[in-house]
Structure formats: C-alpha cells, structure tokens
Symmetry: C2
C-alpha cells in the first residue's frame, strides 16, 4: 500500500548505469526526497563494460567490477537501495509499483515519480538445445561463464560477432579455448562497413579465432553448434551474443507507449507517455543525431548521461537530452575499432548521396619511432558536406580520432572544416597534418571539385566502362601486389609518360591515395578530362576484396 | 634581371613547413606555373619537431629527419628548389628578389607572386661569453649539438624552460648529461598555469634534471652559466631556448607592414600589405581564436595549414585562414603536457571573469588495469560559458582530451556542452563519463548556480574571511596530508555531523573535488547558505602550493 509521504518519493527501477546515475544525481539535487532503487539482481552499479574482461582474466579481481553496494549508496546518498526486488507491475492510476522478492512475497510501493531504467536484455535465439547457452549481461552471467571455463572446456562458440561477441572471443581465447565466432551478416562488427570490419576479422583469425560469417545457427548439440549449411562447430562452451532488446515488458504492460524495437518512447526530458513516469538508458528510445529519427542505442555513455539528466528533469531543471551518435569502440587483440554516426551502408540505405573518404595514416609522425598505421574512414553528405559518420581501425590513436570527429559533428562542423582543426602536435602524438586534418583536406578537395574519387566497390564498373587503370606507385610496389589490369607508371615519371595512357577515362591509384591525388591533379591539368583517384588506394581495395 | 615569363612565376622564400606546403599544393593546383623555392640552408622540408629527439638518440637515424630533397621535389612536383640561396633583398617595384649564394655571388629573380616563409629564429640573449651557446632550429644546429655531445661534456645548461627547452632537457639527460634548466619565469612551460606546470617540473626533477625558475642568466664562462643571484650552474654544454622571433628582417626592409612581435601583417588570404606578396608560417601574424587580436604563434600545424592555404589564395580559390588556438603539446619523461587556447593567467590578464575547473580523472576506467591519473583544467568565461582554454598533464590520454576540447572550441560549443559529447567508451579507452564529459558537468553545475567553487589561490582569503574548512575525506586520507586548519568530517558522516560546523561560510574539500561536490550540495540543502567546494581538492592545492 502506498502511504502518505512527507517528502515526494521517486522510485527508480534498475540500479545499474542509468538508474544509479539518476538516483545519485537526484539526491544531490534534492536532499529531502525519498529515493528508492529497486534492483532485480544481486548487484547494483556494477561495471557492465568490464564483464567480458573478467571472463578473460584481464580484470582479475571480481570485486573490481562491483563499484558500489546498497550500503555504500545508503551511507553517502541516503538512497534506499533494495536488491532482489523484481518489479512485476506498475499501477499508473494508483501510482504504485509491485515488487516480487526472492521469497515470493510481494510488496507494493507508492511513487510520486517513477524512473524505469530496466536496461536491455540479451536476445536468446530459440534454437533446439540452446538452453545450455550462456549470455552476458550481469555479474551472475559472468560468474556462470567463469565457472564454465573453470570446468575445462576445450572449445567455445559465440553466436554473434558484434562488440560483445568480439570481446568475448578475445577473452575466451586468452583462457586458452579454441574459439569460433558465428555471425549471420557477411562481416564482423556490423556497425562498421565491410572493408573496415575486414581488418578486425583478420586480427581475430591471426590470433586463432575461427570466424564464420554469413552463417546461421540452427541447433545445438551437447558439444557443437549446428549451422544452416549442415556443418557444425565445436562448442563445449556456447555463448549467445546476438544483440539485446529493451527490457520494456513492464512498461508495455502498464500501457506506456513503445516504439523503435519495443523501447519506451520518451520526450526530451525522458518523460514517457505518462507524465509521472520517466524512462532512461537502454530501455528508452533515443533520437538519432544524424537522421533525426528514433533509434535504439544501448550504450553506457548515453545511459549514464540520460540517467543524470532525468534527475534534473524530475526536479524541474531546464534540460534537454541530446540526440545520439552511437559512438562505440572495441579492442581486439591489440587492434582498436571505433565508429561514430552512420556507416556508409546505412547512409546509402537512407538514400543519402554519399561522399566517402578512406585514408591510411600513422598514429604519429613516421619519423618518430613506433608509428603504427590505421585505417580511417569518413562518410559525408555529398550535397551538404555534413559529416555523417566516421570509422577507424588500428593499433594506436584510433579512439582519439573518432572522438575528435564525434565532437566535430556535435559542434556542427562540416567535413571540410576538419582541415582547420588545431590539434596537439609533437611527433610522438600526431602529425603536423593530423589524420583528421587530412580527412578535411580530402573532403575539401572533393567538395570543391578539385579532385574526384572512385570507391573500391565502384572500380569494376569504371573499368568495365572503359577506364584505364594506372598504378602510380613504384615498380617494386606494383610487383608486390597489383590490381588486375593496372598499368604501372610511377608518379615521378607521369609528366613525361602520360601520353602512354591514351584517350578516355582514367582511374589512378597508389598505395593509400596520396600519390594518386597528385597524379589525378597532374593528369587533369595535362588534358585528361575524366580522371578519378581510387579512394584509399590498394590498401582499401585489397582489404575489401580479399 | 627578371625575364619575361611564359607562365607566371611564384617564388617561395623558405623551404620547410609553410614554404614547402605552399609550393607542393601550388603545383597540384597549377601545373603550368613556374615555382621556385629559395632556401638559405642545406635542407628543405625537414622534421623540425623531431630535432630534439635526434639529440637524445630517440630518433637514431639523422636521415629520418630529412623528409624530402630538392631532387625528390623536382621529380614529383617539378619544383625548382635551390638550397644555399639566402634572399637578401626584395624589390617590390621591380618584383624581384636578390639571393646570395654561398660563393658570394648574387642572383636576381623576378616573380609574379612571392611567398615569404622565412620562419622564426631562436632569440640569442646578448650575454657576455654566450657565443659558445647552441640554439636549435635546423639540421645544422642539431648536427652541432650532436657533435658537442659526442665530445663528452658532463653537464649541460639550458636557458629557457619552454617546450623546446624541456624537450632538450629530457634528451640531453637521456645522453647521460647532468642537466640544469634555467627559466626567468616562476615556472616551467609558461603557456601553462603554474599549478599545472608544477607537475612537469616535478617530473623533470624526479629524473635528475635541476630546475632553476625565477632565475636570469647574466654571463657565461667556459664551463658555467652565471645567474643573477651570483650562483653559477655547470654548463659544459650550453643551449639557449628562450623563444623565437619572426624572421621578418627581409619583409621589414622591403617596407611591408609588421605587427605583433615584428611578425608580418597578413589578411585572411595571408596577403601582406603588398598584394603580390604573401607571408605564411612563423613569420606571419596570426589572429587569436579566443581574443580576436593579433598573435604570434610559431607552431608547425598552423605553418603547414597556412602554407597550403596560401597556394589556394594565389590561384584564386576562395579560402580564409582560421584564427589560431595555439594548441601545443610536449612529452617529458613519460609525462604529457598539453594546452589549447588561453591559460587562466592570460584570461585574467585580459580582464575576463573566469570560471576555472580542475579535475584529476584517470585516462580510462579505474576497474580496467593500467589506468593512470591526469590533471585536467578548463578555463571558462563565467559570463558566457564560452570555453577559453584547457590544459592537461598526465601519462596517458592527455592529447586526446585536449584535442577534443580544441575541436569543441572550433565548433563553438560551450563549456556545459562538453557534458553531452558522445565519446568512444570501452574500459581500456575512457570512462562512461569521460574526463571531458566531467568537465562539462562541473561547468554546468557552476553555470547554473547549483554549486560554487573556490580556487587554490583563493583559499587563504576565504579562510581569513572566517570560512570553516571541512575535509570530507576519510580520517586515513586526512592523516596522510591535510590543509592547515581543516576539520575532518567524512562525507558519509556529514548528514549526521554537519551541526559541528556552525554558522558562517564553509569551504569543503576532498581529494579531487568529487566528494566535495556532494558535500557542498548536502550542506547547502541542510541550511548552510555560503558553501564552496575547493576546486581540484587537495591534489590541486598541494601541487600548487608545494
């Protein structure tokens, strides 16, 4: 029963990222309010994003994952945190919630405002025999996987090659298991474009992980996972990591409006269709920063941010949640892959006229020891020069470049503006023309019509239409690896030898695109009126077509 | 004599960063133009910023510093690059320059457009005996220093603790020399504020470098440097690194307008007061991005950028150079120090009402191995929430955070907007609330009046005015190091014990400011009407007052 309250009471359902950010901020804003956090599980405020690394032993100490306890939160923030409280119903008219305790007993609590922060739960494909499959969402899950690993399996199969799947692949391999990753899509890490994801796939394979893309799991035996082509992969241990869906059952049952993938619809103050009920974190619909539509983006950064923001909204502070880019990152055997905004695939699917730039810069000046290459990609709206997204894969400096582009997007900078960003340069940290500056310079060259490019997936059509392909690298480079049909005229000889090319359209290429740009400019000025540079050079082409 | 030209001729004076960027871009834009680069020294397009690291052997191979040669630039870009050509006069009426060759012979060359990219030269203080002092500007200088080190000196003194001085200190120490750095200012790295620079000073000293600040050199003996307090420091090897001044003698002699520190005045197309003459790089005046006034900012990034831009301007492309933030970075014995925009000192000197934020975050999530602390500072215009500048010092992740803030400034984001940046988060790369997000959250708390802070240099005045200082850390932390006069009431006991504080203003503090914020909010809500949180906590205070 709801009893009359001296102070308003806010109930938060879910005590991890979004929920606990909301509760602690709410206390800092309002000392008098009664704040109750109801958490179904045993733990609150744990380090979700660290869970895969405890599986691998990278984070050795399980306690390191447990950032707060109900007691510590009670002492510091006077929060009434109740674990083992599974909220089973919301009565919007009475403004009460009913929670079921582990004993089976049910308690009813009244609220003045309610925050639903129930998160998202792993999708469990309904395969015959899949009951033995693990998922990874919380501390109890990780405990089960750690126990299963301790039992000495030799092989592991992971269904799903998204961020969690790839992290688990690395961590199970670190435990000595023979790991296979099975992915329905034609690539790993579907938020990335295929030619970028190919670098991650290669890194997984170099480290002994078997990758099966374009493959669907159909059933599970005691020791294997059976695929749709009839083959089976060894799976002493089996983990499902095919994605998550918003845990909005409770909200739906209460008649709250839901939208994108079943997530709870909220306004810019995270308020649901019931003005006394808010939703934050993975359970709530986000607005997409690029397209403006609804989005489902289950990421910790946004959960924390919106959790904090809902406390402001509840106490009447003027706040507006920002649309999300979905900036994400993953480490895989020393390689980093990150993205922000839209992929090329997504932008094309949305009907945008897309300008794409691939570069292969080093993380810092080549003349300073230890420079490591990365692949960097920028997706631009060709009509407006608006930055739609960026992706990076490499061993160092990728996180920095993606964060810079994410910040530029938020600041409303256009692709060409990246040329002018004034980034910190000393030779161990970057280049006088930083990789992000280079993206901007290329964007400006394309936007102004100074140069034109052709993408790796457009090359065949260009050649079929009669274009001559000229490799402007050195003969030694040409000999090592070349694109079928390319004639080799090194850039430094092109002024003298361009007559060899003849009439008609020309595609030039080099290793990464830089010499190709000089060659394209030269040929255009020497009278070749249809010259394009292969974007990203042989390096992008060969990764993409491997 | 100038002879009639079939194609227009552009002469570039100076063949390093700005000049060579201009020349190569100009060729890509205009294949027909005659492009002549006149370089006084022996080398073009060398890696300035790498020079200190060749002294220390970090960059072992001297050839790695030589990025291009006249021959390679001729072959690729059809540039007429002439080293050993010291331009001694510009005849603006005749549109000619006169260059003196090493033989003493003089040649005169006509131009249609002229680019002055003569850079900046090290200031040589006129001390008695200082003729034996080295400076570090070009490859010849580094050769001389390397030869001097090979002769086996035991000690080195460096006059000037700016970026070059500090880099040289590390590199000479790496060569086994006993190094002293002498700086006129009260701190190392004058672009940083004193409490941030103190961390760099400590790192230098921990690595055996002697640092003498507030000290002026008065004369030089054969083995020592004599200071104004009568002491002398050992100086078998002596290097002057007290800054640079624009090498604008030639421009001034030609009657071109000069301004800030003698740099050549240019418009947004880098055009000087003579429309046929452009100036770029360190020799040219910049516009300050924060204050809008003229600035002298001798940095490679801007030199390269403006060099490229001047080629566009010369060929009539619509370009405008951007004002500069002066983003800079240095590595010192594993520590990184970086800054962008204005320091607190500079902002206060300019009369701005300044809001300052110090934080001490980790580069990545504390629960993932290897997290390292940094000090991060944001300088904000209190009236407008405009970001004026940022500084960071730490072992990892500093470059990324400063680049993000530099990008945010360029994008016109306000300090509070940093809270909403969506940065790539996985535990090895950052935190769900990234250090930059934290700066934004604190900025918003201050801007909205939710909380108030006091700076380390304001604490004494606050206490003298009767404020009670409350340390809300644990007793163990309080015992280890505390601020004189502080009473210890741990945050988790503050609700019950706040009555001990009594009437009047209160300053709370913790280790870094986070618990202090919760404490300040709590006390304010419990009826204490003048509560401030010591910004940056004990950590900033103790670094600053050490």
């Amino acid at each position: 029963m709801s009893t009359p309250q001296a102070a308003p009471r806010t109930i938060v359902i879910g005590g991890v990222a979004a929920g606990m950010s909301a509760a602690t901020r709410l206390r800092r804003l309002d000392e008098d309010r009664e704040i109750v956090v109801l958490e179904r599980g045993e733990h609150v405020s744990f380090a979700n994003c660290g869970l895969p690394y405890h599986v691998g032993g990278v984070i050795e100490d399980r306690e390191a994952l447990l950032l707060q306890t109900p007691a510590s939160l009670g002492a510091r923030f006077r929060l009434d945190v109740r674990t083992g409280h599974d909220v089973v119903a919301i009565d919007r008219d009475a403004r009460t919630v009913t929670a079921r305790l582990r004993s089976g007993e049910e308690v009813e609590l009244g609220y003045d405002s309610l925050v639903i922060a129930t998160g998202a739960s792993p999708i469990r494909p309904a395969l015959p025999g899949a009951e033995r499959a693990h998922v990874l969402r919380d501390v109890a899950d990780v405990d089960r996987i750690v126990a299963a690993v301790a039992a000495g399996p030799r092989t592991a199969a992971i269904v799903g090659a998204g961020f969690i799947g790839v992290e688990l692949a690395e961590n199970l391999a670190l435990r000595g298991l023979d790991v296979t990753v099975v992915e329905l899509a034609d690539q790993v890490l579907p938020p990335l474009d295929v030619e970028m994801a190919a670098l991650v796939r290669a890194r997984l394979e170099e480290n002994g992980v078997t990758v099966r893309t374009g493959a669907a799991a159909t059933s599970v035996t005691e020791t294997t996972l059976v695929l749709d082509d009839g083959s089976s992969v060894p799976a002493d241990l089996l983990v499902m990591a095919v994605g998550v869906s918003p845990e909005s059952r409770l909200a739906r049952a209460a008649g709250l409006e839901t939208g994108e993938r079943g997530a709870v619809v909220v306004d810019e103050q995270q308020r649901t269709s019931d003005p006394a009920i808010f939703a934050v974190g993975d359970v709530a619909v986000k607005r997409d920063a690029i397209g403006g539509g609804d989005a489902f983006v289950p990421l910790a950064q946004t959960a924390n941010r919106h959790g904090r923001l809902v406390a402001d909204a509840i106490t009447g502070r003027p706040v507006r949640s920002q649309p999300v880019l979905g900036t994400a990152i993953v480490g895989v055997f020393g390689l980093t892959a990150a993205s922000t905004g839209w992929s090329e695939r997504r932008a094309r699917a949305a009907g945008r006229d897309v300008r794409v730039i691939h570069t292969h810069p080093s993380d810092h000046a080549g003349y300073y020891p230890g420079a490591r290459p990365m692949a960097l990609k920028l997706v631009v709206d060709a009509a407006t020069d608006e930055i739609l997204g960026a992706q990076g894969v490499g061993e160092a400096g990728v996180d920095k470049r993606i964060d810079i582009v994410a910040t530029a997007i938020r600041g409303g900078l256009h692709a060409s503006d990246l040329a002018d960003l004034e980034l910190a340069y000393a030779p161990q940290f970057g280049s006088a023309k930083d990789p992000v500056n280079m993206l901007g310079m290329i964007a400006e060259n394309l936007a102004s019509g100074l140069t034109r490019s052709v993408q790796w997936h457009e090359l065949d059509a260009a050649l079929a239409a009669g274009a001559t392909l000229v490799d402007v690298r050195t003969p030694a480079e040409h000999e090592r690896e070349s694109i079928p049909g390319a004639v080799n005229i090194p850039l430094d000889e092109l002024r003298e030898r361009h007559g060899e090319i003849g009439e008609g359209p020309v595609v030039v290429h080099c290793a990464v695109g830089q010499r190709g740009h000089s060659a394209a400019r030269l040929l255009a000025q020497l009278g070749h009126d249809d010259v394009r540079n292969l974007d990203g050079g042989v390096r992008t082409w060969s990764t993409a077509t491997r």
